[in-house]
Symmetry: C2
Subunit: 281 residues, 2 copies
């Protein structure tokens, strides 16, 4: 596996791969890899000729006061994990290479970016869309892989690709969970032992809602209420948002009559966790 | 020359051209072609294997109350002109194909877009960058050609390409002028006979400023003042802006000490015209 730490060399690699008619799979990450990332890398390995894993803790998608500085980083560990999962390239650009002085251009999916996580993290998805557009420009993947855990991110990236006529196939793979159901996240490392147990309430709330829908409940308000009640039982949990929205438009739904995204963000102590389920009535 | 009126067929054409290792040259226009456009097409013809001229009167770059509805259109005439100039494809997508219901994604070069024309036409350059990003996605040109008359547009497109790591070469060709010096523009058709004469003041103002710089004048304020005085002599002329800015950053300059863009926008009657000169002291 090559480690490429500069944009120009990454572009060269991709141009050569294209010239050799290889398909390129991209797994964009912020590093501190976990089994969720590895499932993306392994799938890319199966379906594309050259697998590129990017690691870039993108400052543009953190708001002031968020955890940019303390976001976990461990390149050596990530290198080993990416290599074992079948990556051909670990692309690890610097901040100065990605956003040189005078950087000015942003991509924003506007109405999709201002709801759910975007409402509480203003500018977050503009940062995400911008960095992913850049990675797409640099790596020129045929297929890019994202995790369902970041549901709004996947929807926005798909929207960007469609709207800007990018020739890239976006694959969204199921959330990978710990044995007890907690969604894998690099941020889980922030949790104390006690919080780790409480964090399970996100998944439990989703299970409860899914079960209610299976039993015939269609009132989105009631479903959200059920999720809220489960989470409120945990003393360290503070709900950021819980919403039921249309998976295509991210518009809130009153009745679960078509494919619906039940998305939630919950602080466990100081750590903000997200999770979601797609509910098909 | 093929006329392609739909995105999917344009994408197919470009994919095939790429497969045949042809280079693609793109000349994005809003139609109603003039000699300025033709110089771009002829240059593209010399330097690329497949020349695509796009015609799309982009609604996203017009503000409410601007001339979107009355913008001149004549597809038959444009077809003939593009063909004679050496175009292989006239790409003529519909509004609904470019911006289907639910369209959400915009590209914005922010600080570059909010000055000069952007200050008086809010959202204009966001519309320009967005449509050009789309055209780049659809046509996948190796080289795209723009005219120096739309100086801010060219600078923003170059900035977008650089910032978003697009693999496209942007060529900016000199402004083509009528015999008396008026910059060619599709909007010149709006001018009455009387206004057509008065419109010459834009070019005259630029000549005067260039001559002053050649004679040693470096005070940007004084240079702008000279331009203003020439334009104010014309009864139908109303200055929208006249500014001297750095060609790289578009920041206003006090002293002409490096390459400087002298840009102006002037209403002649109801018609807003722009012109500019790059001044090298």
């Amino acid at each position: 596996m090559k480690v490429i730490d500069n944009i120009q060399r990454m572009v060269m690699f991709s141009k050569l791969a294209k010239k050799e008619s290889k398909t390129i799979g991209l797994v964009p990450t912020m590093g501190y890899l976990h089994d969720g990332h590895l499932s993306l890398i392994k799938t890319a390995r199966q379906h594309t000729d050259a697998v590129v894993v990017s690691i870039f803790v993108n400052p543009k998608q953190f708001s002031p006061g968020e955890d940019l500085e303390k976001y976990p980083r461990d390149l050596k560990r990530d290198e080993e994990m990416a290599r074992l999962a079948g990556s051909d390239v670990l692309f690890y650009p610097s901040d100065a290479d990605m956003y040189p002085d005078g950087y000015a251009t942003y991509v924003d999916a506007e109405i999709f970016a201002d709801t759910l996580c975007g409402r509480v993290r203003p500018g977050h998805f503009k940062g995400v869309a911008t960095v992913v557009a850049k990675l797409f420009g640099i790596v020129r993947p045929d297929i890019a892989y994202f995790g369902q855990k970041d549901a709004q991110q996947s929807i926005i990236i798909k929207k960007m690709v469609e709207d800007l006529n990018m020739d890239i196939d976006i694959k969204v793979l199921p959330t990978v969970r710990e044995k007890d159901g907690l969604a894998m996240s690099s941020r889980n490392i922030y949790l104390s032992e006690e919080e780790r147990k409480e964090a399970l309430c996100l998944y439990q709330a989703l299970l409860k809602c899914e079960s209610a829908v299976r039993s015939g409940e269609r009132d989105a308000g009631k479903i959200v209420k059920m999720a809220k009640n489960i989470i409120k039982e945990r003393p360290t949990a503070r709900i950021d948002y819980i919403e039921a929205v249309n998976t295509k438009t991210l518009a809130p739904v009153d009745t679960v009559s078509c494919e619906t995204l039940l998305a939630l963000a919950v602080f466990i102590g100081k750590t903000r966790l997200i999770d979601n389920a797609i509910i098909n009535p």
